[in-house]
Symmetry: C2
Subunit: 395 residues, 2 copies
């Protein structure tokens, strides 16, 4: 296969962005990635937008065409790529395929979601549209509810405590404090999370055993990467191009209850295995990972299913500080979905942006030393469609 | 580039399908394509769904993952590909890219839309969500309105009369009568269309100068093709595999009024040129074409912009019978969007299905004799994102 690199990466701060339209956000992130790559007058052949629900959130469809127009990139090909919360990872995969197939030389991949146009429970409802309609959605199941049931089973099976969950939030919020793009930039402590004395909101149960501080916020945001061939990247800029070394993807049953063992995230395991196989490396080779901690329990479960720790060992590694910056395998130095935020379609691309920065040594205060191989996991639905990436800085 | 073929094709009748969910429809079309290809136990690596607005029409997202589940195709990769009314053509392109890149050997591409879950003007509103939000949508512009303005300018520029428009409808409804998958199967005559004495509805103006019989119906439907390598296709079945010889795509300004000449469908011209260039042939080599006649004027305008006729000659060729089955270049033997229907995301795939059947000689009463090269044009937005395909039966 033709090698493909990420020549540019950029994002806008994740936050509540009432003054921007979705297209404004996509355009700004896209411009930053093109600028970062030193694109100049090199034409963009295709623009892929990872976005879950522009129709329901923003009453707009065909947003990729709209983005081409906003950026005056005609006649670039354009599509929106939708795979629920893994839309960003999927859009990168399609960018890779466009170049590796020979159909494009330069592809701009932008992930973005403007969720805060709909209010409160309506946002939870839009997200719940990814649940199985006849077996889950109609009974009022939401994503937090699925995560709560999963957490209960997983914690029981592997002896995970609420303190372990809190440690994911503490670590990721500590990392988020170092990330100027993060939505929630607050220092939290174990005592604070468990009792939350400083807040009038407290830390109420969202879906037992998950509490507020176990759930990612609802954010607006966009992130972008510019994919091209190594030859073109070299001409554009002296920055080290980051190779898309491995891509893996797998699906699983739509309804959670149909899985023989609901604690087994099969699609995570298979997607990670495929990505490592394509990259010709193994989990132990990874220097930095961005996992999909939409709920704290997921970071622990994914760290095991992706092959970094044995089942039941993920929480122990976390408690031992192995997944902190400076630890053996830093997970979510960006702050993850928990602190950076989770504008759904943006997340998979934001993970890649963080990895590009880490692998180039541009991550500032949250830099993981000497990171050469990065891994990201973008988790769609409730684990029914997962995309894993291995990125590598070539020596 | 690695050659890619369509080894199977299938669709379900387009109609109002109250008893099926969108996923039911996608699944049935998908099964027909897999069955047609003789897939057996050969695994499917990826499933791409062309769909515009499952969120707004059906309150459901991540429908590609849902389809994998319905068909038990785990762990196949899955994405929804959205490009407005050109979502189907775009999904085929992404299937091509998956195989040509070496990332997949077998890709199931299904296009589908269940539009009739929302009623009357609400359906028009959902479709209008593809218009420019700040310059068009907020002022109440709908797709029929854009088409009406375009028709007025185009008719004036090239001396096209309401009778010419009616002849598109007459031809396509005559073809649709021969297509068991067509939604509207009624014989219409020039007298009938112009005065419509048989109907209580009559033929009222929708968007002057376009009348009811100039507009496609609102339909539910799905269509599918199975893409693979020529080697695998040969193993699966003795049917002639149809080569995806050319794919072209182009974008244009989002707002119609920003085009220097609003009658110039630049994206159609560029997309067709690119598809012919990749296929190494020219418009004169095409034996059968499926064009995107969402409005009658579009069939005429596209037949010129795609290179089959000079500007101003398309209506004359139509009037002379050249675009009928048996004519020099049969256009829309399926009945087109006008008679077959236009379940938005299904259309680009349904065009390809018709071409596969035509090129294999399986089109029954509407067969174009000795068709070897087929062309389709899938028109997104109001011509702001267009996908053209050239399909070929190898000798």
């Amino acid at each position: 296969m033709k090698p493909v690199v990420m020549a540019g990466a950029g994002m806008i701060p994740f936050e509540r962005r009432d003054d921007d339209t979705l297209i404004d956000m996509l355009a700004e992130a896209g411009l930053r990635a093109m600028d970062d790559a030193g694109l100049g007058d090199q034409p963009v052949d295709a623009v892929y937008v990872g976005n879950m629900a522009s129709g329901l959130f923003n009453h707009q469809v065909s947003v990729a065409s709209a983005l081409v127009d906003k950026l005056s990139l005609y006649p670039a090909a354009a599509e929106r790529i939708e795979n629920g919360p893994a839309s960003g990872g999927s859009a990168i995969k399609h960018g890779y395929q466009a170049i590796a197939s020979g159909m494009a030389d330069v592809v701009l991949v932008v992930g973005g979601e403007k969720m805060r146009e709909v209010i409160g429970p309506r946002a939870t409802d839009v997200v719940a549209c990814m649940a199985q309609p006849e077996a889950e959605y109609i009974y009022g199941v939401s994503l937090p509810a699925l995560a709560g049931m999963f957490a209960r089973l997983y914690m029981k099976a592997y002896g995970i405590t609420p303190e372990h969950l809190a440690q994911v939030a503490i670590k990721n919020h500590a990392n988020g404090l170092l990330n100027p793009y993060a939505h929630i930039r607050a220092r939290v402590t174990l005592e604070g999370i468990l009792t939350h004395p400083d807040s009038k909101v407290g830390n109420p149960i969202v879906a037992d055993p998950l509490r507020l501080y176990d759930c990612c916020p609802v954010s607006d945001g966009a992130a972008a990467v510019l994919l091209t061939t190594p030859e073109i990247a070299k001409k554009l800029s002296a920055k080290p191009a980051i190779t898309v070394a491995g891509i893996g993807q797998a699906t699983d049953t739509h309804a959670l209850h149909e899985r023989a063992d609901p604690t087994d995230l099969k699609a995570v395991t298979i997607a990670a295995q495929k990505a490592f196989e394509m990259a010709g490396c193994k989990p132990a080779d990874v220097d930095v990972a961005e996992l999909h901690d939409a709920f704290t329990i997921l970071e622990i479960a994914e760290s095991e299913h992706a092959g970094f720790f044995k089942k039941g060992e993920g929480a122990k590694a976390l408690a031992a500080g192995e997944t902190q910056i400076g630890g053996k395998l830093p997970i979510n130095p960006s702050g993850g979905l928990k602190a950076r935020g989770h504008p759904v379609g943006a997340t998979g691309v934001a993970q890649a942006v963080e990895l590009v920065w880490q692998l180039r040594g541009e991550a500032g205060e949250r830099q993981v030393k000497n990171a050469q191989t990065g891994f990201s996991l973008n988790f769609g639905g409730f684990g029914n469609n997962v995309v894993a990436l291995v990125l590598r800085r070539e020596k």
